[in-house]
Amino acid sequence: MIPVAIGLLFLLLALGLPVAAALALLALGLDQIFSPIDLYLAIGELSWVSSSNALLVSVPLFILLGEILLRSGIADHLYGAMSRWLSWLPGGLMHANIGASMAFAATSGSSVATAATISVVGGPMVDKYKYNKRLFFGSVAAGGTLGILIPPSINLIIFGWLTETSVPQLYLAGFLPGLLLSVVFSAAILGICLLRPEMGGVKIKSSWTDRFQSLPRLLPALAIFVVVIGSIYAGIATPTESASLGVVAAMILAAFHGRLSVDMMLAAIDGTMRSTGMIMLIVASAWFLNFVLSALGLVSALNSAIGALDLSPTGLILVLIAIYLILGMFMDPLAMMIVTVPITAPLVTTAGFDPVWFGILIVLLCEAALITPPIGMNLFVVQGVRRRGTIDDIMIGVVPFVLCLIAMIGLLVLFPDIALWLPEVLSE
């Protein structure tokens, strides 16, 4: 049964069927082949339950939050402040790319929104200060991936829903890896620019007065972060409610910057609904598929099959990492997660790993998926903003950062406490 299921899934996906249709047809097919009873009668009830789920409401709201922030002018302020504090380092504004991405990520749950926003603001600096364009745009594409690691995070919400893991715990677990990954990215830029100073552009000087005067510009982002994340841990709001508060805060901020208009909101809603419709159809199909898979006992069959392979727990994790890195080259990370996590998460928890830790590992692998060619959404987004040259520049420029991500994944496997320490300390 396992080879049939996996074979069919890959066949349907390789045929280029929409992911949602591939999942639903796989579920119907497996049901026809293996099940004595017709499970498809349950499809209405299952899709209603999954598509009216209270936790999942936060997904479109976070997409909307990102779409509004993208148009709100918040990024210019973040970038201005970050460049004054960080551009003295060898590598100059490339550190501002990482720093501003990190700060924007703390307000946005989406990596694509982060990359789009930062590349619009940072892009014009390449020629102005004579940076190496490949490394510069590579740092924007890579910095953007922080969007889904640093809370809030759409991917962590979906992971929490798929595995019944606490979203506040997952958020807490994302903080330190997010900060550490930013430092690793910056360290790579620093190292490269120390070896090859010509890649690091013209030095930009800022005075301490400038720096301190720029601090208030960080306030709008901080305000959104406090509203969205603070409200959860202060016990004021659930993760879903905090997403609603975030949308309102972002609208207020956009109004404050004079950017709130009917046209702007319509554009934000259109973008939001395009992603929401796409994701929710996948969610409904995946939920039906999971139901069929568990009714057929496929997950436990897979569990015993893997058990029979006699892999060590670490061996299992390494195999999974390799599979995800390869899948991520070709698949949209969110679709990849929804398709695979219901199968891999039970394997990993049975092997004795913490589901919160696994959630962070999966998000790091999703980040890699965003920047590994041939299909990497952040690469396309950065190239889309740049509008000249070829995408090869960005694919080459991002290579050092892909290596950083792989190193970060290694660190997380070696030292699980990077993710688990904060949730443990704070829940005591």
Partner: protein, 195 residues
Amino acid sequence: MTLETTLRRFSLLLSRIGGGMLLATALLVSAEVLLRKSRIVVFSFGTELSTYALAVGASWAFAHVVFERAHVRVDVVSQRLPNRPRACFDIVAVASLALVGLVLTFGAWGTFASSLSYGTTSNTTLATPLMIPQGMWLFGIAWFTFIAIYRTMGASLAFVRHDLAEVSRIAAPPSAEDKATEVASGARSRAETQS
């Protein structure tokens, strides 16, 4: 106005109404949280309504997503094929959405019909008659199915006429570059209004 434009505009309108519902519940839930915190009035039906807004709003967006060809596909294989087989893959892809839509409509009809005949209400203070949100949800799924069938027929007829460009316009995924350019233009338009 051609049939296609009418259907496309109506689908966009549905999607916007769905988005409006989600935005409205976000405002309602925010008000709820603030009032709860200040202990002025305590009411809590925003979360329940937001779950209906999600189910209904998402299903009302499905058809527009078909027009936008944004139901995500893994097209690594089909992209590398010559024009004619690639057009076949594209038609199969949109047809598969129509097929899944039919199954979903059938399932959603069952759920709606049983809520209707038993008069099921939600187990909350609102006691929402579930046939209302489920009926709206069913409508979105049925409309999506209709649009997916309409697009499948359009693409198939074009294929029979050997009009491969038309097949591609209806059913091929926009290239990743196109999608990215759209995201980028959203961010850029904001930068340009500023300068």
